[in-house]
Subunit: 118 residues, 6 copies
């Protein structure tokens, strides 16, 4: 990663957890695991046009809309790995208040709290 | 606006349409119009911690998840008023593919097309 | 309706439009039309335990969550037919602000506006 | 609270749990906790036009649509604190059957069962 | 049941668990339990026009969209009881990738894994 | 198509409209159009394990859950192109009643009606 000026998004997002996460997805279904690696990450995420930090802050908001706590936690960590401060993550989650209301947003801040307390 | 170092988010987002949009909301219900101006914009949006361009790109993604074409169009324009390039807006909408699937994303790009063709 | 101490919910909700609405549903699919009449209205709606006005205010809120303008309009009229004031309907829709956020709520007030202006 | 003919909605809904709940929300994020207290409760909930019992029955239905068990449990208790009978709460949840289908409704009745068995 | 060439859908889907599941639903609310048995199963599911295996594969996809793990597990078992192979269930869940995105689909494959490992 | 024992899913689903639909998607965004063709259709849809008719009936149910009328119409036609009878399409849409409730299902049957009347 050090010599590569643009590391793959999944290397930054998952960091040292990359192999463990990929293995877990492959165990669920090898085709599904491959789609996530080759399409979601190496195609959509690695598409130029928007910086990775912004992509991950958007991912955090979308996962708040879906109510998916484990994935949200992964991408809160991913946003910070991509350079977001805690304040920027809080700012991204707070944008869900006017668009999605309070219950989904409170659930997302609960995930953030668990991540910060780990 | 020029002398003010931090204009209100709603001034940037709505630009010359601000009075028209606020009037339309007030006509629906004066309390609702007030909540949107005083709480959604002047409290949540104006909260520091994340830049306005990032907030608007997140808004575009959340409105894609909600399937709300008129509001999405307002905030595509708002994102660009806040400094986002067309490429960054496309990047924000494209992040909806892995998280929300294709139908919601295609509908959002249709709104972008209408905005660009106006 | 006057002599019947407890008219069927669908008679109150739909009023003079009952036959037209039922015909439209039967034309879509006779089984579907029958399910809505016999199960949704004559079984679930006519179940005792909660007054019809409250049921219709709840229906208005749920249809706001679903983003279903035509059905929402039918049940705004139904809530008023069941005794709700305009202020109570506005109060029911406004409860969607903290739970669902602004875009869905604004869309619902737009349907209310169209109903009141008819 | 005793002398005030119209206590604040959050005093009725949360009862003796009010301080604990507010503290938990403030711990997640002080701005978020403040928005919920000052805007969601002291502005939207305390807006006149609809009685608190009806507001809470609507909240129960909306939380069924969102699939948010902890908040649903809080507002089932809140509806009863505001004067709703168990039968009225069952009636409100049952309205979710025709609008949202069975899985969301069954999950809501499971929350009611846990509340009643506490 | 033995002489009937077309057993009721709920007998096939629930198999030996039928009484336990029905009792659990009746305990939540006797009306709700009755609606599920008499309307959802004995009316909608038993309606001719589509084979039971296809109905259950569709149910698995819809429960993936709802994010309802316990019901999804019941209907993964139901699909297999109705003749679906593991490969067909995987194929049904995989169809959620293009329509709903990855987070909901990964959650569904997690339920499948738990079912297969039981 | 006649000599090919397993034509591509998108050839069957779109039939003579394939070029027009692909052009419309490419015009929205060339990357998005490519993702739909190469990933959604030529990878996920063409994955073996489930027959195309079942995949399209599932697609119709998922598009009912999303409330996406234009895509639903495309895949109602696609299901029929893949061999589904009108009765099977009605059966697939009817499965949405117990899982999603009536408003989404009625909207889907409205799309079916428009398709059959064209």
């Amino acid at each position: 990663m050090s010599d590569d000026p643009t590391p793959r998004a999944r290397e930054v997002i998952f960091g040292s957890q990359q192999d463990r996460i990929q293995q877990r997805l492959d165990d669920l279904d090898p085709d599904l695991g491959g789609y996530i690696r080759d399409f979601a990450y190496d195609t959509v995420y690695d598409r130029p046009g928007l910086d990775l930090k912004s992509k991950e802050l958007i991912a955090c908001a979308l996962l708040t809309s879906l109510g998916s706590p484990p994935e949200l936690r992964t991408h809160i960590r991913g946003a910070m790995n991509a350079g977001a401060t805690e304040g920027e993550v809080r700012g991204a989650l707070m944008m869900c208040v006017p668009y999605l209301g309070f219950p989904r947003t409170v659930a997302a801040f609960e995930v953030l709290r668990q991540h910060l307390e780990r």
